[in-house]
Symmetry: C2
Subunit: 660 residues, 2 copies
């Protein structure tokens, strides 16, 4: 059975002339034991909620997963797909891609992400179990990972969190082959991994990764532990290859036809490429049979469960019909009250309403709860043995927070949101990117979103971060200007089929949408907040805390006889998705000035050739916020002056103002 995995992987990599055979060859025995004896999945019902989750964190070994899926009978994982490994349009991408084939639980490839995402899945399982009991939710999360996953820093964040939360149904099988791309791991690490996991409260074990009986016993022991378990499986990379076994040369390149023949001889595998003897295929049938039986039993329990409807509704993830009406009422209330609040605080108010309405949401923060305002009344902490809570103490671990949110979302049953400062999006870039690549519903609450945070200084003041996030495909970035737009952003984010970032101010902002709450205007991404009286001479574009500056400048300009429209652009992405006529109408024909207390790159496409940007062209500085705005020239006066310059001198630049 293990050799079937090995040769499907070998043959596919050879056919593609690209890929990583060493890991599937090395981990084939462990994979065989895990799938044959333990994993409960039903390839005929890949989305069955109580299935075990399997995550291949070392995703470069993707052929291991595809071979397994072929052998256990996922209907879409045909031999043609294996033959098309790494080809454009195939389901068998170079790394496992969520949504490309049935049964792929998450996208992996950036090392360590799979492990941390699996922590989120294992946590979701315990949290659902606390709500619905063993009858409906009681499964394991298994992870394969390699040295690379464990050397990446995100692994420590994930391990620490999983150990703290005692996620006992999480079982990690470490491909302890002592080899990384450059050669022996002795080149770069001396860490005793088992000891490290133990320091974070894990159960650990060691096993010969080619001794199937020993592997079976170790996994069995792990299932009885009250802690998460890491089993270090001592394996030989490229196992079976006479020349390349144990060498980094088997890691990331085809073995070559000669060595493949020698490997076939050494392992006694006589089948043609991509062909598996019927007797072996029959052996593999046990997985689907066990899974189907377990699923039928679960369905019987589910049919009897008094919580059936609640369970189904939760897993469907819909907020319910009343949500839109609730948010409309809330918007009107805000527009009527007109609070002067920091948008981080407006976000807390919105979350209060939302979290009362639905318990799908699960909050958390990377140890900045009282700064990012992500905790609302009545949300208990999620802790070991208290999985019925709704608030996750992620610790100072932004990278794992992002990945765990991905895992919670992918598992199903929750809509995760998590908060930190916008500048620390740097620490979780790769997790945010995977959210976007997979299109998961997760909300990043990123506050202190400009020099407006003041005294903490340039290390804490985001400059390029909004650009970085707006440049990321399939990510919604909201920078609301007031309490109304903040509520609108939350409404859109919670119903989107992609991740969202909410970029929120530390400083107080007035309500600019007073009496203007009939529709969720943020849905169009950008809109005319204050129209110019009569003709329009100039258009002021802004987002977030700088919309107030634009409004003030427009008022002064009006007194001076210049008609300025103010366009609020809470989401560049949604605005760019509007039709050309709408965009042209909003942007106007006259000169444009954009104002944002960050770098200007993302505004260029809205400004056109004549446009001016008023914002940051360097890192920030430490000082009170108002002084910083003045120091960096992000003021009403600068906007007014710029408008006069552009109009009175008829200045037309051949290109956008060059940043110095």
């Amino acid at each position: 059975m293990a050799n079937a995995i090995r040769f499907l992987a070998i043959d596919a990599v050879q056919q593609a002339n690209s890929g990583h055979p060493g890991m599937p060859m090395g981990m084939a025995d462990v994979a065989t034991v895990l799938f044959r004896d333990f994993i409960t999945i039903d390839p005929a019902a890949p989305e069955w909620p109580d299935r075990d989750r399997f995550v291949l964190s070392n995703g470069h070994g993707s052929m291991l997963l595809y071979a397994l899926h072929h052998l256990v009978g996922y209907p879409d994982m045909t031999v043609e797909q294996l033959r098309s490994f790494r080809q454009l349009g195939s389901r068998t991408a170079g790394h496992p891609e969520y949504g490309h084939a049935l049964g792929i639980e998450t996208t992996t490839g950036p090392l360590g992400q799979g492990l941390a995402t699996a922590v989120g899945m294992a946590l979701a399982e315990r949290m659902l179990n606390a709500r619905f009991g063993d009858d409906l939710v009681n499964h394991h999360t298994y992870v394969f990972c390699g040295d690379g996953c464990l050397m990446e820093g995100i692994s420590q964040e994930a391990i620490d969190l999983a150990g703290h939360l005692r996620l006992s149904k999480l079982i990690v099988l470490f491909d302890d082959n002592g080899i990384s791309i450059d050669g022996s791991t002795d080149l770069s690490t001396s860490t005793d991994q088992a000891r490290r996991f133990e320091a974070s409260g894990w159960n650990t074990d060691r096993v010969d990764g080619h001794d199937q009986a020993a592997i079976h016993a170790a996994i069995m022991r792990a299932r009885f532990s009250d802690r998460p378990t890491m089993i270090a499986c001592r394996t030989t990379i490229g196992y079976g290859s006479p020349k390349l076994a144990g060498s980094e040369k088997s890691h990331g390149a085809p073995l070559g036809s000669e060595e493949i023949a020698a490997t076939r001889a050494q392992l006694g595998w006589n089948s043609e490429p991509f062909s598996v003897p019927q007797a072996v295929l029959d052996e593999w049938k046990v997985v689907a049979e066990r899974g189907a039986e377990a699923r039928r039993q679960w369905e019987a329990r589910h049919a009897q469960s008094p919580k059936r409807e609640e369970f189904d509704s939760r897993l469907a993830g819909a907020l319910g019909e009343g949500f839109s009406a609730l948010m409309a009422d809330f918007r009107r209330q805000l527009a009527s009250d007109g609070p002067k609040l920091a948008t981080r605080k407006s976000s807390e108010v919105a979350l209060g309403v939302i979290n009362d309405f639905t318990d799908l949401t699960v909050g958390g923060s990377a140890d900045l709860t009282h700064s990012v305002f992500t905790l609302t009344k009545g949300m208990g902490d999620v802790q070991a043995g208290a999985y019925d809570g709704r608030y996750i103490r992620y610790g100072i671990r932004e990278h794992a927070m992002g990945a765990v949110m991905n895992g919670l979302s992918l598992h199903g049953g929750f809509i995760p949101y998590g908060g930190t400062f916008l500048v620390f999006s740097d620490y979780m870039r790769s997790s945010i990117r995977l959210s976007a690549l997979m299109g998961v519903r997760a909300v990043y609450v990123l506050t202190h979103d400009s020099i407006g945070l003041g005294e903490d200084g340039p290390t804490h003041q985001p400059i390029e971060h909004l650009t970085m996030l707006r440049a990321t495909p399939n990510l919604l970035v909201f920078r609301p200007a007031d309490a109304v737009e903040t509520a609108e952003a939350w409404e859109i984010a919670l119903t989107a089929n992609r991740p969202s970032v909410l970029s929120l101010s530390r400083q107080n902002l007035p309500t600019l949408r007073s009496g203007d709450a009939e529709e969720n205007r943020s849905r169009r991404g950008g809109y005319i907040l204050r129209d110019a009286p009569g003709r329009r001479d100039v258009t002021l574009l802004a987002a977030g805390s700088e919309v107030e500056i634009a409004v003030q400048a427009a008022g002064i300009l009006q007194e001076q006889g210049v008609a300025a429209a103010v366009v609020s652009v809470p989401s560049h992405e949604l605005f760019l998705e509007q039709d050309a006529a709408y965009r042209a109408d909003v942007l106007g024909k006259g000169p444009r000035i954009a104002i944002e207390a960050g770098g200007g790159m993302s505004w260029d496409r809205l400004l056109g050739a004549e446009g001016r940007f008023i914002g940051m062209t360097s890192f920030g500085a430490s000082g009170p916020a108002a002084q910083l705005y003045a120091h960096f020239g992000i003021t009403t006066e600068k906007v007014v002056t710029a408008a006069h310059e552009m109009l009175e001198t008829g200045r037309r630049l051949a290109e956008p103002e060059v940043l110095s």
Copy 2:
């Protein structure tokens, strides 16, 4: 002496009405022992090369550092500076900023960065020691860090590397106060930190952080260890405050005048705010006296050393006069040979020349040596006990690699470069940002820089990364088009006073600068590579691997009677720094098309309102590179068609083409 630190911190935070008093109050005893009894620095000669390095990794406790610098007599750290804590223009920024005041060894604030940077400093010390001996280089690196630093994943990467390299002169003093911002660390972690450090080969110790004799003994023991040492100092955050000691409430806000008075009473401190009794000031003089004496002794040894000139030259960091001539010769050779090479390979060839010329350079890679081509002939590995090497095996730890490069550069004596894939700039964003914020000379060699990497698929294909890097202030981003531009980029990067990224192709590229090597044209950032014959109808802008497409398209257009100029833009930053006349001349007056196999946001400012971008508007896919270029429409044909559309239809968009 410790109370002097405490009250300077308390008073400054109160005066600023902003800041973090809890940490300085808690770590004052540890700081006192470390500085009074051990640290060898000379405030009168802050740059003395063999000084001990001190890094405050938990940089929010900056007042601890400023108070210490005031007490030991750094001439610029006056009481006026303490009174101006966190004010615009002061040396006393919210977090310690490198270059803002004497003796600040590195910028800290983003947690964990200081610890990892200190690993680079400690490594630089050992590497210089291996070259110059104990007489010239023999000092310690001390680090203060908190729970936050140790919860961040980068800490594991740094700890693992330091333990592996046995950096025995690195001593970390962990502020083990059991408190983070949200409250008790029990909320989010159960890790036994000492055990974790031990798993990575560290010596560890535990001590009462308010028992000065015990602290002294522990540091003394650490200095005799053959391993790096972590001393967990059990402290009370906000020590001395009757109401707030031991509480997270003392972490990040002023104590308030009432509680300050109570703290003064409890600790028996009767001095006015910002005032320290002369007797205490006299005690603190021991630090400067010990340092001055040590420096004088070192200067005597230095004066006698046969390696004196070599040492001074190395610490000055200059490449020497021959460097420019060497690179000019090399450029001419390349332009004459006209190799067809991937730019990652051209980079290896350039490094071969550079590393032969100077041994200031120290290479390395995050376990992708044979993919990023950062190792040249004769560079021995840096390993424990083999510190005379020049190549660092960073392991699969991009984040620490960036921080360690910062540390190597800040320490002095080396020019570090390190390689990984461009997409993994995500994993080291915060370190790259700190390189830029500090203006250190470090070179990030980031290869596989587009969908041109092919089969590895979307997780490995950068899309938004060039935008993210180009949006970062003070960072030079080079995307060279051929071997000549690659050599030019290296020449500029190695002589720059800021960090550089080299974005390099996996796939082969022809030499486009054949016979055009008299000057380093990349210095201007963008230049006309192929002028249009006679009039210019259209301008094709491109960088890196897509310049070849632009050149081919220009050739086809010429046959069709359209005069197209090709502008290569290896560095947007340097181009934008040119004067307006040069830029206007290069960009031309006609329509412009930009081509890059990545997201287009950074090109908008070069395109103007009429411009078109041909590149990526989504994530990539897994498949052979040529098929991906065709699939995503980044082809010569698309460029030709776009040029005809823009010219023949006179199409003038009101705004840049909207990305879908």
